[in-house]
Symmetry: C2
Subunit: 207 residues, 2 copies
């Protein structure tokens, strides 16, 4: 019992590292077994098939990212603080699992239905609260009018893309791993300001 539970999570963690790195198609059961220091047969004993093992990893991955990050969007918070909270939650989670965004993004492409199913099962509705809040802010003239969808895209893009396309951005900027991490830490403190800049009314337009 105890033994089985630890082996199961041992496998899960090994599978996670491999799947995160290589995706479903690129991963080999043998490599996962090696990573867990066991043999292939045990993988099948615990998870029956590669697909089921992957599903378990994907489910765990989504569970690790979405709840902490999306839940803040529903909090009773002024927009300004909500944005900061979101960015903080995102960077905290993702800096601990740098391959998570790329992994999810790739699976999004490989099997769109998979993610949809997970979202549907969790009854996630990110936009509902945001829509109201943005609408109110626009009515009272505090914030510029913007659709919740575009706002969400902006927020997600600024946070996620630097992780998703990390290798490309490092290649273009010539930064090594350490320097790029510093860049990311800097972003963490800057993004919420930028997002608010985009929301500022255009009244005092330059020129």
């Amino acid at each position: 019992m105890k033994k089985s539970s630890t082996t199961e999570s041992l496998i899960l963690h090994a599978a996670e590292r491999i799947f995160f790195l290589r995706g479903f198609d690129g991963a080999r059961m043998q490599e996962i077994a090696d990573e867990a220091s066991i043999n292939k047969a045990l993988l099948h004993y615990y998870f029956r098939s590669k697909e089921r093992l992957f599903d378990a990893v994907f489910e765990a991955a989504v569970s690790r990212l979405l709840p902490p990050v999306l839940s803040v969007l529903h909090l009773e918070l002024p927009l300004r603080e909500k944005i900061t909270a979101f960015v903080e939650a995102y960077f905290t989670t993702v800096l601990e699992n740098p391959f998570l965004p790329g992994f999810i993004v790739h699976e999004l492409q490989r099997n769109p239905a998979h993610f949809r199913a997970v979202i549907a099962a969790r009854r996630i509705d990110v936009l509902e609260t945001l829509k109201m809040q943005l609408h109110e802010g626009a009515e009272s003239g505090i914030w510029r009018r913007i659709s919740a969808e575009q706002f969400m895209l902006n927020l997600f893009s600024l946070c996620a893309f630097p992780f998703v396309a990390r290798q490309g951005m490092q290649a273009l900027s010539g930064k090594n791993d350490h320097e790029y991490l510093l860049l990311l830490e800097e972003r963490r403190t800057l993004i919420s300001g930028w997002v608010l800049d985009m929301l500022r009314p255009e009244t005092v337009n330059v020129k």
Copy 2:
């Protein structure tokens, strides 16, 4: 001669569709052959191996995206127009090849050296010109001080992420393909404004 050239490009286009959709590991030579309405043997006759065929596709993909998009960053243009030109170039190119960004991003992860090699071969330096321009703008007080790296990340993120994570964003927003395309067209007109907002000096801070 003529025959071989058309077959070669027939294969290349078929391979592109399949590789774009499934990535290197997920693609099957058989499926590419079917897509081109030929047989597997011909693929090897023309490209010798799956890997070489993929390289050809990747090279072509990078060639289609980077030059038109990055070249505008070197033009002798005021920052304001440069940003608009970049966004226009990006959306024009990518709306014609919607899977291009996801394909490149995935390959970035699968084989980082591959992209580095392509960049190095082309002697691409995006930041050089930008650095100067941003520095000047900051000195003269027109624009806020920001590193060229963060600026590039912002611009790229806002443009690329909506394509890269399209399936996820559609799932979260509940938009269908058509509605999402409209959203993208709207972004095309909005992004440069947002990027400029992020550059506005903070002097007239709200509250």
